[in-house]
Symmetry: D2
Subunit: 471 residues, 4 copies
């Protein structure tokens, strides 16, 4: 199993964490980011505010690689925001790492953003024509310019006015000299939750960050809501209302950590329920159920529990692959060197295997896993996918393949099965998936399933895919 | 959950890998070591032979950190041995990393060793009195001296004579200018298997290394056997016979990768069986079964399958902890920061939980996990251990705590339960454990269970614990 | 001799290098910066243009540390500018390293600046009030904003309009998608020369950069001149005229490399002439002449030649002090550990020594050198300074001490002599210094000697020293 | 001027420093090594003794790169030895860096060696045949084996017995658990001096190390002398007497620092005297005298003083070339990029130049410097060498070219002049050189001038050059 395998999943682009009013702000942000590390492993950064001074540090790599104790000590102050980032190819430089920090007329400003603005390219062009200069290709810098240029009298008004012209998906944190602002886009595409720790307010992309630092979960930030946290405490304002809420379904399917709760549902439990519903929709006679580690384990357990077929550990993932790992040459891969996943021969040999995966993107990985299981002696391989076929790309902060690379965009389920080499292949239906998310009225639910249906909750502009702000 | 948690398990000290007769020897060794990374994360090294030249490279850190493509390219030759090492405190320097390499009268020699020699201190002293100089505190250098000093006419005889005076546990690889020798101690305390890849012979501590490179498993190396691999192929000689075979049971319980087969048994399957037997011996009424990741997952699945209680993912392990991670201060830990493990509130809240762990060493970690589960709302926590109480230390290459730190050495099961704070606590019986390893005649089995019984298969010398060769 | 010694000189803040129209643009810039390394050792950077793409890399450290072959290879394109920087305390971060690069309405822009703008703080404030955001504390970013905001139709006009509002000292390089602009401030405070290499034009702070790459010197850039270099070749425009030219005298005294020619004079020759004039003004009976290495060697040779007293190497400078050097503790320094300079006992023992230094800033270093010479057995030490007493700070890009730290600002020559412990002390007169620069009409010369006289060639604003843009 | 220039000098291989009886032993050794850095820039190391524990650290690079404060702090104890090393090609690995440290029957032993043993290959072979194992290719390890194998009752006797069988050049430091031994070979080929610092004894390759830490010079170690320094103070024993003393002349000519005194003479003064004698033997009509920096400056000053021709700085050496510097490609070098040295056009243009260099090895560098001076406008270039023609290689710890590469071994002075392109070329006569060292009786002097005469002071073995212990 080779390198493609590592990238044949969609990637979440970011996780954010913020805290206001705690003397260990930077340290707690470090641990919060560490809990959110699965949302982005390319770069990490923290900005803090100490009186009228802003300190910040960011770098390429894991949280544990970017920061050391000496660096953390320089990040003084009792408010902080942090960011982890997965980057698409091209502009993965430390300049684009976040939080972005700027000086402006009100003092200092740090911004951390999870999501993607769909009209950033257009606004960027307009700002340049008006004389603005840009140091990054990030859409976050566009928002910073808008905020600084707003003539309105308060930072909150500056931000609300700026968000009124941007479109797309965002969970946004802004730290100024005296307050922390947290905004979620009007559709609620990206998650963000509010918690409390020893009197200080904390915000994070996922609740697992709260558990890690021992903070108490209060509630999710509402779509279109701005939280203002300052020395007087917490206030909430609504800056926009959308006719439709649209939380990204892939947060449940793949991105989020199993122990996180998003908008009220525990991720592991949702996945396990998807596995159970998958078993009801697409049962099969078999000897063992195995899941592709790690994101499909919950669904596999659910499938096993529903069917009574034993759940086994039939695929092992090597957890020591790091960024500096030397990938085997094409030649060695063809000779059989497989690094990331290994099939357990004693488990699958002579067995009829149900293989659970959470999604299929290009199909190359699934094909290799099926081949690996057959090489290890599986007599039958029944592939069950715990989500519907992915047929459309995403414009909301996910690093998706081009649409033509999505196997389900161009092939029928039968053709996909043939390409992958499974004995049978079934996907969870859209209705069942939504039911796992608690949906009862299918005509009026609060999820974005554009990647399955092509029905995007916001406008998408023609040239978005082409430009994506890469200069 | 804090730093102690990371160390409150016994640690395997080493993994070895060797290959003879393949033009990609160093590269394949790199991937083999990577598959064995769980056996030692402190240092890694590879030595190769190219004609009469020996190349080697070793360093502190993971395989992926120690080697890069430039380094791998310098490791020319068609034979190689490699080593990964976990070190106890004190002498964890790169000088002690392996393979050790020496020049001697026959040319070059590289040695890689998994295990521990129980009379190394005595032999070391004798050699010094005879005028030998030592560069490391490793017992492996003792063997190198013995080999070089043997007057016998062949390398094989030199090695056999040397092994006749050492005692203890070892899986040993020796690479000379023209052959690869692989030896397992007469009791077979440490595992080692033989395989084949494209005509070349390979040896490794565990079979998962074979699966990773696509090699075919042939058989396990026998206790007391020496394999000689050279340009004429493979020969086997027996250099010793022990009255009793004594494979380390902890290889099955904790150390080995679930996908490895050791001496004929698949590790995951053995662990699952231990979980089933544990359920039979110590059933309990409960709502969910959860395992301590990652080594106890197999047993937890077995326990759930046997009892019909649903298996859930109730504890999440953060996989991004690296060596450079900043541990939280005592103060922050007390305030609730927990890094390595998180309990999933939605899974355990209001539930009666069966918690499966593979072993208890000092009990500190178990205590914290139980507390964490209660904090997350578990109404009852029933701790079930899939092995017997650990009452004695190990002298065979495992980094064990001092005996007085072993909670089961000084406390009864009732006292341990109280310390840990579980509602109930039960251990798997020794008989059931052995039965999971396929033992039928309990008076005559082939396992070392000294850590449960104090019956060591070899002599142990008074001053071993005190000296351990640390100068 | 301890750490103070390393900093008890004024520091040049920058060197710039640019080239347009050569396929090895980045590589030649690397070697050009390396020749200018003495002008700044804290950070280095290069930006190149390749069609409509700009590549850049900068980092902390020496040119040889910041760049490696892989990095140089990414800097494609046939035009480049580079920068080396010495930084004052506080804002010495990589974000402030140059060239600064921006996107703006005309495409890309990179800026490299040697000097200091005296009204940057005021303009920065005005821009912020107008809605600009700033990523650095560099006055260079102020100029970038001004350029982008100018509504005039060409880049040249944008730049000229922007320079019309800034005041102070600058040698400025701006690289856009299709041209290289080089500007020297109207007073010509900082040097910049024009050369040619294989058909391409090159500009550099000092001519030693031309010699290093084998380029031919054409002429110095004129004060108030803008050079426009593009595919059509070289054009010159005058954007300002100053009533008075004012080249920094310290370029000759201390900053520049002895092999550079600045505005027509060779630096070593000027220094040697200063030494000769110093001998004429302040002769003394002595046995040896020694110079403080390295900047005072030329003057010492001149003094020796004029007086006939033998020139000797009586002080040795250790050239291996790097940035990572561990400074001796106060305790060890007091016990006698001296690192940077050593006196040669055999040379000075029993001798009357004339010690030549180029300048005295705080006097601490001179005091230590005199003490060191006496410890080594010198019977008399006559200190001769090859420039006048420094009585005022500099606002033009030099890292000067606060005025109260300048020993000559508060003490008479007699008091300084006493503090330093020399037997006699004499400074070169201002007239003699100017004569060494070729000045004949002292009322109308083209040098800035504000640090000796307090007569600054431009306005200085009250709050400049206080703010210096450090946020 | 390209890379060859950097290597077209002979290289000293090592410098050693030791101290016994001071609580800042490691720190003082760090500063001592830093003063000796010119003797070796490839690796550095320090070993200390604290009771019965030995601490050590060594690495590739400059002293300032290998050590940091954390490392220095681990080097506890009140006795230390240190080593800097220049390595020939091939075996430049950290394993060969010194001090070498070993455990043996008497406890710990650290060895630091400057020089080369001419019979190490033969002894190494004999030891291997007797069963010894070797970890390095260093001849120092050979001595360690000999010491450990000596059956005599004291360490001093072990060492003396061992030195009785080795031949060649050495300044040797050995640190054991309770004493520091310093030995200089019977001919005194390599220098070593004894000093005192706050009651502690110090030894060093050159006296400049004493000046740096503020230690007082006592005397040079005698050829064939062993100093024993322990808690009872200093004792001296003579372990050998040679009929002839033979200090390496190149220490004065090129290796040593100008401020060091070796065997009673100051290096700068000797060099200056060589320049004066050179002027007497080979005067020439010229306008300026310039020296090749840095080793030929003293001789150039002497030549100028004797002839009355002005000494000028006509060649500038860039001091910022570090190990990570990117060398210009052949193509760029041919186009004129010259990095290490620059000619100062204003100094040499239209002038008749006397160029002083200390020696010619292969002639390539001299050729380039002459060409560079002519390119800069010199009308005549008269090359004067302040030592005799080098016609033979060195076996005593100097990295010399093969004899066939020595231009003077195969060409007459006239042919060399032609190759180099100078107008005239003269070498200092051997008599004059010796006179500069204070020799009056030429038939009975105490210097090794084998590289000028081929008369080696010790036996040289046939296979020495071939083997040099490189395996």
């Amino acid at each position: 199993m080779h390198h493609e395998m590592m990238s044949d999943k969609w990637h979440e682009e970011c996780g954010v964490f913020g805290i206001f009013g705690h003397d260990k702000a930077a340290e707690l942000t470090y641990y919060g980011l560490y809990a959110l590390q699965h949302r982005g492993q390319e770069s990490a950064g923290i900005a803090t505010v100490e009186g009228r001074k802003m300190h910040h540090h960011k770098g390429m790599g894991l949280v544990s690689e970017v920061f050391n104790e000496d660096v953390l000590e320089t990040l003084k102050g009792n408010a902080a925001i942090g960011h982890v980032r997965y980057s698409t190819t091209g502009d993965s430089s430390v300049a684009n790492a976040q939080p972005l920090t700027f000086g402006f007329q009100r003092g200092n400003m740090a911004l951390a953003h999870n999501g993607n603005l769909t009209n950033a390219y257009q606004i960027h062009g307009r700002l340049e024509r008006q004389g603005s200069i840009f140091q990054t290709t990030s859409d976050t810098e566009v928002v910073a310019h808008l905020i600084a240029k707003s003539g309105l009298p308060t930072l909150e008004e500056n931000v609300k006015e700026s968000l009124s012209v941007v479109k797309g998906a965002y969970a946004f944190l802004i730290l100024s000299d005296d307050k922390l602002l947290a905004m979620r886009d009007p559709h609620g595409l990206r998650p963000m939750a509010l918690g409390q720790f020893e009197g200080a307010y904390v915000v994070a992309s996922e609740t697992c960050a709260f558990d890690t630092i021992g903070a108490e979960y209060i509630r999710d930030v509402e779509p279109g809501e701005m939280l203002i946290i300052d020395k007087d405490g917490l206030r909430s304002e609504r800056f926009a209302t959308a006719s439709r809420k649209a939380l990204c379904t892939f947060e449940y399917i793949y991105f989020a950590r199993p122990d996180s709760d998003i908008d009220g549902f525990n991720v592991h439990s949702v996945r396990k329920k998807m596995g159970k519903l998958l078993a009801k929709e697409h049962p099969v006679e078999a000897d063992v159920v195995i899941g592709v580690p790690e994101s499909s384990i919950s669904a596999a357990i659910g499938y096993a529990e529903e069917t009574g077929i034993p759940y086994e550990i039939g695929l092992i993932k090597n957890k020591y692959i790091g960024r500096t790992f030397i990938q085997p040459s094409q030649e060695l891969r063809e000779r059989g060197v497989k690094l990331k996943l290994s099939a357990v021969r004693k488990i699958v040999e002579g067995k009829r295997v149900v293989l659970i995966d959470d999604s299929i993107v290009r199909g190359t990985t699934s094909r290799r896993i099926v081949e690996m299981l057959r090489d290890a002696g599986a007599t039958e391989v029944h592939l069950r996918i715990s989500s519907p076929p992915v047929t459309h790309g995403c414009y909301y902060g996910i690093d998706t393949s081009a649409r033509e690379e999505l196997i389900a965009a161009t092939k029928s389920v039968g053709e996909i099965r043939e390409y992958i080499g499974a004995d049978t292949l079934s996907y969870l239906s859209e209705e069942a998936m939504l039911r796992a998310f608690g949906v009862e009225d299918f005509s009026n639910h609060k999820y974005c399933n554009a990647c399955f249906t092509g029905q995007y909750p916001t406008e998408i502009y023609e040239d978005l895919e082409k430009h994506m702000l890469e200069r």
